[in-house]
Amino acid sequence: MQSHFNKYFVRLLEYKGKELLSKYGVKIPRGAVISRVEDVSVLSTFKFPLYAKAQVPFAGRAKMGLVRRVDTLKDAENAARDYLGRVVQDYPIRKVLFEEGVSVAKELYVSITLDRENRGYLMLASAEGGVDIEEIARRSPEKIIRLYIDDYEGLRDYMVRSVARKLGLEGTAAQDFVTVVKAMYRVFTEYDAELVEINPLALTTDGQLVAIDVKVMIDDNALYRHPDISVEDSDYTMEELEARKYGLHYVELTGYVGIMANGAGLTMATMDLVKEFGHEPADFLDIGGGASKDSVREGLKILLHDDRVKAVLINIFGGITRCDEVARGVVEALSEVKTNKPIFIRLKGTNEEEGRKILAEVGIKVYETAEEAMEALSKALRSMQG
C-alpha cells in the first residue's frame, strides 16, 4: 500500500509524533527539541551522552549521518550547527531532537493503520521490532499479530490485553502496553491519522515501555481541524506548500517535459504518454477538480519558471473543471511570464468551445487528443535539438 500522487498524507516530524503520543500517556525518552543553535543550553540539565536526531521526514536517517551521539554540551552545539539549516532531499532541517539514551532489553513493533479493504482500522504488533520488521513479516508472517478494529465498536482494553499476552508481556509491562496502544488509538482517531507507528517500542531493562522512534501520518484533508499541527512540522517542501495554496498537487520529477492535467489518473496517464514517446516528465502537476483560472495560472507559472522544463503539455478533460477557466488561466500566465517554451494544449469536455475560442484569440492551437498534442511536442523538441 503506497501513496502515489493520488492522495497526500502529511508525515509529521518524529518529535511532533512523540509529543502527541506523550500527551496521551506514552513514555518517550527524556529529551528536548531545538531550532536555534544557542538553545542547546537547555540541555545542560540532561544526562549525557545524548543522541542528536535531525528532524527530517523520511527513513534511512541514521545511514545519512543525521543521527549522532553527543557526549558534551559542546558536541551538542556542533551537531545543532551542523544540522540546522541544511537541506536534505529538498527538505530544510529546522529542528534537532536531543534525547537521553534508553537501556533496551527488547525491541517491539506496534502500529495502527487504516484497513482500506475492510473499511476499518488495523493494529499490527510484533515481539520482534526494529528496522528489520518488514523482513520478519516476509519470512515469518506468523510473528506479526493482527487485530482488526471496527470504527463503530472501537478498541476495547481486553483486546489489547490479549495482544499483550501474545507478545509475551506480563505484569506492569502488559498494563503499560494497553496504555500505549490506547494512546496510539486516540491519536489515530482524534488526529485523523493514516498511520501511527512506534518502532521500536523498547522494553527497557527496568521493565518500562518507551517509544524510541515514531511515525505519524495525518490526512491532509483534515488538517484544518487540527490547529495544533503546523505544516512546518510535516514533510511539505517549500514548493509543495506554495502549490498547495492554490489547490494544486505538484510533485517534482527528474525530466524536462512540463506536465499539467486535471485529475490524478489523467495526469499519470499523461506522464505515461510522455514516456511512451521516449521523453521524460519534469513533474506531476494535477490542478484537481473545478480549478479556477488563478490555480491554472499559478500552476503554469511554476512550470514556466522551471529551467529544466523545455516544453509544456497540458491535458484537460473537463467534468467539474471548466475548459474556459483553464484557457483563461493559461492566457493570464502567458501575459505575466515572458517565455519561449512551446506549450501544447489538449482541451476536452465542459465548456470546451469557449475554451478553444479564448485560446484561439491569443493564437494557441488546441489539439483533439493527448496523443496529437504529444506528437506535436515531440516534433518541437526534435527541432529544438536540431
Binding site: M1, Q2, S3, H4, F5, N6, K7, F9, A59, S111, I112, T113, L114, D115, R116, E117, R119, L122, L124, I133, E134, A137, I144, D150, D151, Y152, D192, L195, E197, K215, M217, D219, N221, A222, Y224, L253, N262, G263, A264, G265, L266, M268, A269, M271, D272, L273, V274, E276, P281, G289, G290, F317, G319, I320, T321, K348, G349, T350, T369, E371
Partner: protein, 292 residues
C-alpha cells in the same frame, strides 16, 4: 436495463445553491435527469434552474416522496453531515461528488450506510451515467450520447471521460459508467460494481480503469479469478511510469505485501486473462477485438 441509475431515477441535489451544485444541476437537467428538489440549509424557498430548494432533506422528501437518489456537492467540511441527513431520511443511493472529505469521516459514514442498506458512490467521484437514461454526476454530457454494451468502472474521473469519449467516437455505446472515486476508502468499490454489471443484461463487456496505489485492482482480478464474472473484461492502469510513491511506513509494506504497484496490478489481471491496455485509446481496440 443499466445499473444504479435509469429512467426511474428521481434526484435530490444537496448543496444545490453552491457554484458547482447549481452549475451541474443545469447540466444534469439538460442531459434529461429528473431532478425534483435541492437542499441548502437557510436557502429554503429559493429555486435553482427551476428546481425548488428546501432547508432540509426531510422537507424535500415530504414534498417529493418519489426521490430515490441524492447527489452531494456540499463542501468537504459539511459533507459528512449531509450524507447522514440523506441516509437518515431514507434515500437509498447517494452519489458524493465532493472531494477532500477527511478519510475518517468517509470511513464512518460508509460503514453507517452499509448497516442501513444504503449504496454510496464516491466520495471524490464523477458520479454515474447510464447514457440516454439518466446522469447523476458531473461527467460531460456531450460524451454520453450512446447507450450500448460496455459497462465502465473507474477510479479516475478524467480518465473515464477520456476512454468513454474514444468508445463513443468509435460508435461503441455504454450501459452505465461508474466512477467509484479516487479516495483510499470509497462507498462502493470496483468489485461491487462488477457484480452489478454481471447481473445487468444490457452490459456485455466490462472496462476497468484503475491506477497505481491501493489494492482495489488486485481484488478485482482476484474476484474475476474466482469464476464469478462471465463477461469479458478489459483493463487500463494509469501510472506505469510513476516513480515509487511515499512509503506508508512499515505497516503499509506489511499489509500490502508488494501489492499496489503497476506491475502487481498488471500481473494480477494477466493471471486471470484480462488484457491490459497501455494507453487509454488502446482500450477501444481491445473492446473491438472482443466484439463479434
Amino acid at each position: 436495463m443499466a445499473i444504479l441509475v435509469n429512467e426511474n431515477t428521481r434526484v435530490l441535489v444537496q448543496g444545490i445553491t453552491g457554484r458547482e451544485g447549481s452549475r451541474h444541476t443545469q447540466y444534469m437537467l439538460q442531459y434529461g435527469t429528473k431532478i425534483l428538489a435541492g437542499v441548502t440549509p437557510g436557502k429554503g424557498g429559493q429555486s435553482v434552474h427551476g428546481v425548488p430548494v428546501f432547508d432540509t432533506v426531510e422537507e424535500a422528501l415530504r414534498k417529493f416522496p418519489e426521490i430515490n437518489t441524492s447527489i452531494i456537492f456540499v463542501p468537504a467540511q459539511f459533507a459528512a453531515d449531509s450524507v447522514y441527513e440523506a441516509i437518515d431520511a431514507g434515500i437509498k443511493l447517494i452519489v458524493i461528488i465532493t472531494e477532500h472529505i477527511p478519510i475518517h469521516d468517509t470511513l464512518r459514514f460508509v460503514n453507517y450506510a452499509k448497516r442501513r442498506g444504503v449504496t454510496i458512490i464516491g466520495p471524490n467521484c464523477p458520479g454515474v451515467v447510464s447514457p440516454l437514461k439518466s446522469k447523476v454526476g458531473i461527467l460531460p454530457n456531450h460524451i454520453y450520447t450512446k447507450s450500448g454494451p460496455v459497462g465502465i468502472v473507474s477510479r479516475s474521473g478524467t480518465l473515464t471521460y477520456e476512454i468513454s469519449y474514444h468508445l463513443t467516437q468509435a460508435g461503441i455505446g455504454q450501459s452505465t459508467v461508474v466512477g467509484v472515486g479516487g479516495d483510499p476508502i470509497v462507498g462502493t468499490d470496483m468489485v461491487e460494481v462488477i457484480k452489478m454489471f454481471e447481473e445487468d443484461p444490457e452490459t456485455k463487456y466490462i472496462v476497468v480503469i484503475g491506477e497505481i496505489g491501493g489494492t482495489m485492482e488486485e481484488r478485482v482480478a482476484q474476484y474475476i479469478g474466482s469464476g464469478k464474472v462471465t463477461k469479458p473484461v478489459v483493463a487500463y492502469i494509469a501510472g506505469r511510469t510513476a516513480p515509487p510513491g511515499k512509503r506508508m511506513g512499515h505497516a503499509g509494506a506489511i499489509v500490502s505485501m508488494g501489492m499496489g504497484s503497476y506491475e502487481s496490478k498488471v500481473r494480477a489481471f494477466q493471471e486471470v486473462n484480462v488484457p491490459v491496455a497501455r494507453t487509454p485509446t488502446e482500450v477501444v481496440k481491445l473492446i473491438k477485438k472482443l466484439m463479434p
